[in-house]
């Protein structure tokens, strides 16, 4: 190892006490009738149960979400109140696409490092079974004017102005606002740019499902809590893990670029409902409260690049940067957890990290950082198989790194993820001495 520890004199150690998540379910399945804050509540309560944390010991709550339910726009606060946290505990919601809960965690780290708080709960929730669908702009305008219309005549004339076309609903955008390109389309182009074949993508997706199944069966996914869904049975397992065969996967048609694209439903992450939560504390406070922390949260970076052609290359940019910051090399890392948006996106990132030409031409670096060895990479499955509730994934990655470090006995772990808007994130995690 280049360094024995990343602890620095005079800098507060910040620890992950524990992390939990609800089972990640394909949207439209068992969670279908809930609301986002219900899932978030479940994760928060699960964390309280798991840690035995007194509710009033929490100084602050930060939660991430991407597609906002308008009724609970500060979903952090609604979920905290619903989960029985003290109404004296402030809570705010952050959003940064697929790295929203990473943002929630690093916000917590910042609050503790700045000496503002000692114990912060961070998390993320995404609920794709129900998304806000709006009236058209014209219709909204008419309806808002209707509120102000004073006379019956004015109201009738406004109602008369409604045309059939105004009734067409407006779905939440699945496309990048700046480029109007959907993420799957961009992923397919990215895979093509790096010459990632359909076969490579299907193989990687199959790997993800196979590893996830193995992890699930051998009880490694201990961050998953059971959740009694009102009116339904208790859920305690992710339901998107489905190892298939290469032959079956090869039959699928491309989902975005037709007819010659390579990204299919089988090698992409699927729409998922789920929530996650972690308890982050200063080491002193954790020890004082009698906790045995799982890991130190160390250096982290956020990066951003061209949202059109490099939308999903966040890990490539963030990894060397965070390693440099912490003074480690790729070889020092024992555990890698990368967010798998698309198999093609992961393969493209691995190829980019392995390319001197890319590092020199686009990243202003002298040499490549190198690709992580596959035996250390996402070995308990990933977003492709476990599911990807956008804002909940970040906490899952960090908790998984902590658990894998404990299980596999490594010292350093690395989390990296891409996000819409051409952004990215990476964090170095150090195992807590056992």
């Amino acid at each position: 190892k280049s360094k024995k520890t990343l602890a620095k004199p005079g800098v507060k150690n910040i620890v992950l006490v524990d992390g939990v998540r609800t089972p990640f379910l394909q949207s439209g399945t068992i969670y279908a009738d809930l609301m986002p804050h219900d899932l978030a509540r479940a994760a928060l309560q699960g964390l309280l149960n798991r840690t035995g944390l007194p509710k009033d010991a929490v100084d602050y709550i930060v939660y991430g979400t991407v597609i906002q339910e308008v009724k609970t726009s500060n979903v952090a606060r609604e979920a905290a109140l619903g989960a029985g946290f003290s109404d004296k505990t402030p809570a705010h919601t952050v959003t940064m696409a697929c790295i929203s809960s990473n943002q929630a965690m690093t916000t917590a780290v910042g609050l503790i490092a700045a000496g503002q708080c000692d114990a912060v709960v961070a998390g993320g929730v995404e609920f794709m079974s129900d998304v806000p669908i709006r009236h058209s702009r014209r219709m909204r305008k008419t309806m808002l004017s209707l509120n102000k219309a004073k006379t019956l005549g004015a109201r009738l004339s406004l109602l008369g102005s409604i045309r059939l076309a105004h009734l067409a609903p407006e779905l939440p955008a699945v496309a990048e606002f700046s480029t109007a390109e959907t993420m799957g389309h961009s992923a397919d182009r990215l895979a093509a740019a790096f010459g990632v074949s359909r076969l490579e993508q299907d193989e990687f997706a199959l790997r993800s499902h196979t590893l996830a199944k193995k992890a699930q069966d051998s009880g490694l996914l201990s961050d998953v809590i059971s959740f009694k869904v009102p009116g339904k049975d208790i859920v305690s397992k992710d339901n998107g893990i489905r190892p298939s065969t290469m032959e079956q996967m090869a039959k699928l048609k491309p989902a975005f670029i037709k007819p010659h694209g390579t990204v299919t439903a089988a090698n992409s992450s699927f729409l998922t409902d789920g929530a996650s939560a972690v308890l982050i504390m200063s080491e002193e406070k954790a020890l004082a409260m009698g906790y045995k922390p799982k890991a130190y949260l160390r250096d982290f970076v956020y990066v951003s690049q061209d949202p059109k052609d490099q939308l999903l290359l966040g890990p490539t940019y963030a990894t060397p940067k965070v390693l440099e910051k912490s003074g480690l090399t790729l070889n020092d890392i024992d555990v890698f957890e990368f967010h798998e948006a698309f198999a093609g996106q992961i393969m493209a990132n691995l190829k980019a990290m392995e390319s001197d030409w890319f590092a020199q031409t686009y990243m202003g670096r002298k040499t490549k950082v190198g690709a992580p060895p596959m035996e250390k990479f996402n070995s308990w499955g990933g977003s492709l198989s476990l599911g990807h509730p956008f804002a909940a994934t970040g906490c899952r990655l960090v908790t998984t790194v902590a658990h894998r470090l404990q299980k596999e006995g490594g010292q350093y772990g690395l989390v990296a993820a891409c996000a819409a808007g051409g952004q990215g994130h990476a964090m170095v995690i150090e195992a807590y001495p056992q």
Partner: protein, 745 residues
């Protein structure tokens, strides 16, 4: 006037190359697919060499039993095939020779069309003219969505027609209406539209950074997709004919009635006649070819196409248009070299029509632009103009709303001189009044850094008069934009004796970045363009005073080939501006600039008839109404300035030549006096800035083709009546005396 973009590419490629080694076409066998790559050392054009090598390669491929299908692709990042080799056509001296060229092309593409092995054209970049005709002879077309990928038949803009099967294949492929639209307008079609029309079968996205440069990898990707498609075609997994939609079936059915087709021919013919006044032979010949093919069969169609192609190549119209094309290419280059410092920060003074227009064409090229006005109302109007200009582009889908927003972020509207200390160039577009210009120049010079260039946008005030109060006259230059700035392509740059070469280079560089076609002229009253226009407008006023109705005057001028009639032009320019300029130039040049009575213009202005901007001028303009009526009140004013026409020189034709000869004579005088550097810029300035008839190719080409002697003869006749306004200048007389003297070689 927007006829001329970069189309058929002029290349000096390898006419002399007789070696057998292939330099333009090569191929590689990938399994059972032959990938033919075109790679002309300069630009891919259908030159003699390219055609010969292509024929050889095709024969080898057809003869190779291992090959089941073919992919045709260009190795050039920006172009598939940019068109026919113009040199090849221009080298011909008779119509028959050109006809023969056309027939050779037709034969080659016939073989392609009947190929027993399916051929996929993989298109990235421009696929124009002969390039498009090649592609549509192939069995399948795949195009990239690159911004550089455009498909079209621009031949009509050069006075020609698609002479290698385009007039025959397109109607069958796209249906009559779409085919006519494409061939008669010459418009460039973007990939998404091409897919919708059925011009291409499949689209391929452009790729970003990967393990190779985006351009290189995109071509590779296109090739991979095309090879797969070629295999699919050979194995009949991909059908060659698409199932027709209901609308298509209905259209086909309707078109199967001869009288319906006849109706379309008539409508199109009428529309062409209305738009061209019969001055452009190419569109009419195109209709003839399409008709021959559909009504009399392919043999007659292809024959008509090749013969008409030959005939058109020999017309003066085609030569004029090709001349303009070359001129435009020349005027898109900076003959003053690269400036020492690139202009990154620009400041525009005055947020009026011109100022805001200049700001608009700058911000969307990434130049940070300050737009300064003296009043909040003026500034607000100007910023709205920029917003509207860009927003209209989003409606046409040429830019996205996001691009609009990011362009607008380059614009800073303000009332003070804040930030001018960082400006690389200031363009002032304030009111045309010398004392105001002086005041502004002094204010600006007090705040700008030493390297900053001061450009003045004026249509007539001599730059040296404006520069007289400058502390640094080498940094002062004239930049004469034309209204509306975002639509008009010309920029006239005026240098004084003191303007430094680097200042000029910088102004040209900015203009080119703004997308302008540029002429650089010497200083003097009215420079070049305004100076040519003024005598013609003076003559137009006289014609009006002689009792010719504005509508009649307009039809006489448009009938000669001007896109806008003289009366309408006066309204567009502004009657007040016309009066102002006429007075200024009248003072500078004396009686030679006389003709119509300036007092008439002034009376119009007094009544508030300032042209389109004021709602009334020669015509009455009502918002939302396309129809315009003659302003009867203007006619009443005219009554009091009435002149009696001299019957000997007042026929329709006489009036046309009175107007045109004064324009042309002044242009030639500008060359004689050195205001113009060369006849090419004179032609480009007149056509792109003032709407001089494109079919005549500009005043200088007009003198060459019409004959200086004949023009002088006409002018002498007018001179007898009107005096020195029609005295031919010395240079024109020289050319009249010696017929071997030509402005264009």
């Amino acid at each position: 006037v927007k006829l001329f973009h970069v189309f058929i590419v002029f290349s000096f490629s390898c006419l002399l190359d007789v070696s057998s080694a292939r330099t333009h076409v090569n191929y590689e066998i990938k399994g059972d697919v032959a990938v033919i790559r075109m790679n002309d050392p300069s630009v891919n054009t259908l030159s003699v060499q390219m055609q010969r090598e292509m024929t050889e390669v095709m024969d080898e491929v057809w003869g190779n039993s291992a090959v089941q299908s073919v992919v045709l692709i260009s190795s050039k990042p920006g172009s598939f095939i940019a068109g026919a080799d113009l040199n090849m056509i221009q080298a011909c001296t008779t119509a028959e020779e050109v006809t023969l060229l056309s027939q050779e092309g037709q034969k080659m593409f016939e073989k392609i069309e009947k190929s027993p092995k399916p051929i996929v054209a993989a298109i990235n970049g421009s696929c124009l003219g002969g390039g498009l005709e090649f592609a549509i002879a192939c069995q399948y077309r795949i195009a990239t969505k690159s911004k550089k990928t455009v498909l079209g038949c621009p031949e009509v803009m050069l006075g020609l027609l698609p002479g290698a099967g385009g007039t025959q294949r397109l109607p069958k492929m796209l249906g009559l209406p779409s085919a006519f639209d494409m061939v008669l307008t010459g418009r460039s079609i973007r990939p998404d539209k091409a897919k919708k029309m059925g011009l291409v079968h499949q689209l391929v996205d452009t790729l970003g950074p990967g393990l190779k440069s985006p351009e290189e990898r995109t071509i590779e990707y296109l090739e991979e997709v095309a090879v797969e498609a070629a295999r699919g075609l050979a194995k009949k997994q991909i059908p060659l004919t698409k199932e027709k939609g209901l609308m298509q079936k209905i259209q086909d059915h309707v078109m199967s009635y001869p009288f319906v087709r006849q109706q379309i021919y008539n409508t199109v013919q009428k529309k062409v006649m209305k738009q061209t006044k019969g001055l452009y032979p190419a569109p009419l010949k195109i209709i003839e070819c399409v008709k021959a093919g559909l009504e009399q069969g392919p043999t007659a169609g292809y024959l008509a196409e090749s013969q008409n192609f030959g005939k058109l190549a020999m017309t003066p119209e085609s030569k004029a248009l090709i001349g303009l094309y070359h001129g435009q290419v020349t005027c898109k280059k900076n003959r003053f070299g690269t400036p020492e410092k690139e202009v990154k920060a620009l400041a525009v003074l005055g947020a009026g029509l011109m100022g805001a227009g200049i700001a608009q064409v700058s911000v969307d090229k990434g130049i940070h632009t300050i737009l300064k006005d003296t009043t909040l109302e003026g500034l607000s109007r100007g910023e709205q103009q920029v917003y509207k200009g860009l927003n209209d582009k989003t409606k046409k889908k040429s830019i996205t709303t996001f691009e609009r927003d990011s362009f607008l972020s380059n614009l800073t509207g303000q009332l003070d001189y804040n930030g001018f200390n960082k400006a690389d160039m200031v363009i002032e577009a304030v009111f045309e009044d010398l004392s105001i210009k002086h005041k502004v120049l002094k204010e600006v010079e007090a705040v700008i850094p030493p390297h900053c260039i001061f450009a003045t946008n004026t249509s007539a005030l001599p730059i040296k008069d404006i520069a007289a109060v400058s502390k640094r006259p080498e940094k002062v230059i004239g930049m004469h934009y034309f209204s509306p700035v975002d639509k008009m392509q010309l920029l006239e740059i005026i240098t004084t004796d003191k303007t430094s070469k680097d200042t000029t280079a910088s102004a040209v560089a900015v203009g080119l970045k703004q997308g302008k076609v540029i002429i650089v002229v010497g200083d003097g009253p009215g420079f070049y363009t305004t100076r040519c226009l003024a005598p013609m407008l003076a003559e137009a006023v006289r014609v009006l005073q002689e009792g010719v109705d504005p509508k009649k005057l307009d039809s006489l001028t448009t009938g000669f080939g001007f896109p806008v009639g003289a009366a309408t032009l006066a309204d567009e320019v502004g009657i007040d501006v016309a009066a102002h300029v006429a007075e200024d130039l009248g003072k500078a040049f004396g009686s030679r600039f006389g003709g119509g009575n300036i007092e008439f213009l002034k009376s119009m202005v007094d009544k508030g008839f300032k042209g389109r901007k004021s709602g009334k001028g020669c015509y009455i303009y009502q918002p939302g109404l396309k129809r315009r009526d003659v302003n009867t009140e203007a006619l009443e004013i005219l009554e009091s300035y009435k002149l009696t026409p001299n019957a000997a020189i007042s026929s329709d034709s006489d009036i046309q030549y009175r107007l045109v000869s004064r324009f042309v004579n002044e242009a030639v005088l500008c060359l004689q006096e050195g205001i113009l550097a060369n006849p090419v810029e004179g032609d480009i300035g007149a056509v792109f800035g003032l709407g001089f008839p494109p079919c005549l190719g500009g005043p200088f080409r007009f003198v060459d083709s019409f004959g200086a002697d004949k023009l002088v003869e006409k002018m002498r006749k007018f001179e007898e009546v009107f005096g020195n306004q029609f005295t031919p200048c010395q240079l024109l007389l020289d050319h009249a005396k010696d017929p071997s003297k030509k402005f264009h070689k």
